[in-house]
């Protein structure tokens, strides 16, 4: 059975259909989960997609984290279900406290939409189990607030626990430690700024993102196995 991936839609999200299209093209089954629902339904993984939930007003993710669905997402994560935050979704996860750190304005104070090269820093986790350590992947970024910020203590902890998932080869936004993605201690919650769904089709210029979403489907499949 192909894994079901629930993609959470907040008012202002805009990448939900792109994620579903990419997941479906890789053999998964994407479906929309509405932010106002307090149950996730029958899903094996959750993606918080990119976009501008609540207009990014106040701070990206600041309002979205209070949506009814977020309690269910936290519960799902606590139970070990794979939860991925892409871009705005990463911002929501940090605001919700499911991932450490914060994402502030890019050092260049410009919105950036272009491809970057990220290095895979760990293969233990929901998004990189099909990648190889040190692998370089070309994936687009699309954000104004992707400058990963955390204190020295958190950075040391992330490093010692091998929880930095991706780094930028050429840091585009001033992120601390050139961090492009991190995971929680249980490694089932991963946030990243690049958009893997934008690199899953050769006509659109590259398929490196498919490696990551395939990893997610593997993690989702494993989740089916454990949850029965």
């Amino acid at each position: 059975m192909s894994p079901r991936v629930g993609v959470v839609v907040f008012p202002g999200s805009n990448c939900e259909n792109d994620v579903i299209e990419a997941v479906d093209s890789l053999g998964g089954r994407g479906c929309v989960v509405w932010h106002g629902d307090s149950a996730l339904g029958d899903v094996d993984a959750i993606v918080l997609p990119g976009g501008f939930a609540h207009g990014d007003y106040l701070r990206p993710g600041a309002i979205a984290r209070f949506s009814p669905v977020m309690a269910a997402v936290s519960e799902f994560a606590r139970a070990g279900g794979p939860v991925i935050g892409i871009c705005n979704g990463f911002q929501v996860l940090t605001e919700a406290g499911l991932l450490p750190g914060a994402l502030q304005k890019n050092a260049g104070l410009k919105f950036l939409c272009r491809s970057v090269i990220v290095r895979v820093e760990t293969t233990a986790g929901a998004l990189t189990n099909q990648a190889s350590l040190g692998q370089h992947l070309e994936i687009p970024i699309n954000h104004f607030e992707g400058n990963y910020t955390c204190d020295a203590e958190t950075l040391a902890e992330l490093r010692s626990e091998d929880r930095i998932v991706f780094t930028y080869v050429d840091n585009p936004n001033g992120s601390t430690g050139a961090i492009a993605g991190v995971c929680n201690p249980a490694r089932n919650v991963v946030g990243l700024m690049p958009h893997p769904e934008r690199a899953c089709h050769p006509l659109l210029g590259g398929t490196d993102g498919a490696i990551l979403l395939r990893s997610l489907l593997v993690a989702a499949g494993a989740n089916i196995a454990t949850c029965g």
Binding site: G12, F52, F111, C113, N142, L204
Partner: protein, 732 residues
Amino acid sequence: MSEPLHRALGLTDDEATSVEDILGRAPNHLELAMYAVMWSEHCSYKSSRIHLRRLPTEAPWVLVGPGENAGVVDVGDGIAAAIRIESHNHPSAIEPYQGAATGVGGILRDIFTMGARPIALMDPLRFGPLDDPRSRWIAEGVIAGISGYGNAVGVPTVGGETVFDATYKGNPLVNVLCLGVLPTDRLVLGRASGVGNLAVLLGSATGRDGIGGVSVLASAGFSDLENETAKRPSVQVGDPFEEKRLIEACLQLLDEHLVVGIQDLGGAGLTCATSETASRGGVGMDVDVRAVPTRERDMEPFEVMTSESQERMLAIVEPGGLGRVLEICARWEVQASVIGVVTDGGRLRIRDGSDGPVLADVPAASLHDAAPLYDRARKAPTLRDDSDIRALAAPLDCGADLVGMLTDTSWVSSQYDHQLFLNTVEGPGGDATVLRLKHPVSGRDTGRGLALTVDGNHRWCAVDPRRGTALTVAESVLNLACVGARPLALVNCLNFGNPENPEVMWQLAESIDGMADACRAFGVPVVGGNVSLYNESAGVSIDPTPVIGLLGIIDSLTTRPPGPTLTQGHRVLLLGPESTNLAGSRWAADRGARGGQLDPIAYELHTAVAELTRALVVGGLVSGVHDVSVGGVGVALAEMAVRSGVGFSVARIADHRALFAEGPSRVVVVVAPELITNVVAMAEHAGIAVARLGLATGDRLVVKGLLDIDLAGATRAWRDRLPLALGAGSVH
């Protein structure tokens, strides 16, 4: 006694008399304000309408032509495309960020009003010179505004133009084009019908912002700064988050067939939306001005009726469907209020309370149909000879002149999300943008593509607005051919100066005729447009700047088009006629020479060149392709080199004239050695001249006898021009 009210509102004495004739009595303040906004240049096109009628608008695939909110064409597979372009020049001159942002918001509403999901934006932008601080500030603000609004509303900006020229100092041009797709059977029109149906206002609360905006801002030039200050309250702030929810709510209403008509609120706000829906449907409407949610206290009825507050739509719904409409709006957190009811008899009545006193009572259609129509005086300017062009000395350093014309615009386009919806096969940077064509509801990929280009050239049009505009259309056709697309529909934004100046009116009429000629010759219908007049500063009108947006179709999209690239070892050919005429060229204009006459365009030849180019691209016979445009063959070659990191060595370009002339119908193609005979044979068969220029190779740009420069240096100059000029940052 002070100025009479109608003049303060921008109506002439004659126009005020017409209003009295229509009503059979003196209008009250509210009625006068409604006529004033509706009869403003911006809303009524009173100076241009008479000329726009000459444009060809029909083709079998046109579903909706000019006059509705957007043009719509059938693109096959049960899909229709809606397209529209608009200007937001004057608001952007005063508050660049919000002016541009609200321009994006406005054009999006025109598209989803038709039932289409907006899938792409394009932003043709024109600013004063980079060495002018205020022009830089405007450019940075405008680009930030488009980025801020477009990205957040969730519609990718997939291409545009970025031009800096002294003619736009003090009066930037901010045009925005939007493309949407809809299932052909969901097409809706902005009309009310069914007596007893309800008018429901959706979206933001109404504030005092933009009151008199269209008439004040777009219909009169800026004379000085003091005037600008007086116009302060007209600035509006855009809310992309409100617009995003409005898009989703409206499309869901349309999916569920809950609206009989829908109309955006743009210039002239509620007055325009209510009267337009009513008069298009041949009905009337009673509007309760008190039912309109307001953002500020104590708003006067005339303020409510003419406010241009952003992010609002008017939907006409059947009473039985109201419950579901309100439910959908609540889900998307969109405010919805019943503000009126459709009546018979064709009167637009504004009331204070649904059964309250009638505050205004006018024939709805008169606000549109009875608008004045002016055939303003036109006068051809005295012809400029070509003495200044002939007097231009050959450059001391062709290489330096060439490099001076290279600008990488990715500093602009990388601030825009240009990939959302996973359609963008060829984004900003090439000759035209290429999008996958997917069904808007099922998401199914048709295997075909849409192509888009926007083009304008004020230098050509300043020399000869008729030929210049025709050449612009021709360039658009060729840009589409370079990505393998054939043209389907054209929209245009006519940015001109003060229409009360007979020479400007002449330019406008000539430009329209040039466009009409070219569209007929290429078989392309005009499906929409926008006229922006009074583009002037300190009493000087801008150079005439018609901007063309052209939509094309790619019948089979299985590989990415080659793009303007050089491949090491491949041959460089120039297809098309020779040109050595520097009139209207960037090189000559940069040196102050603006005389001469443009080459005429040979339509049959141009069509043949476009067809050949398309065949070469679609057939996979070329590894690179780029049409010759601003800066001539020299800039075309250099752009290909800096984009691909490969140099070239070419000959057969006789002198700087042949290098920089911008004559039409020419394309550079790059061909693998083994395909040369094939390509040359195809060109000869089509009767098109082929010049074998040379080879793509190495790390220098070499034109025998003219220039020999370093690729790395040229690449740096190209790449760094905008970041160095604009990158310093500002507070927007």
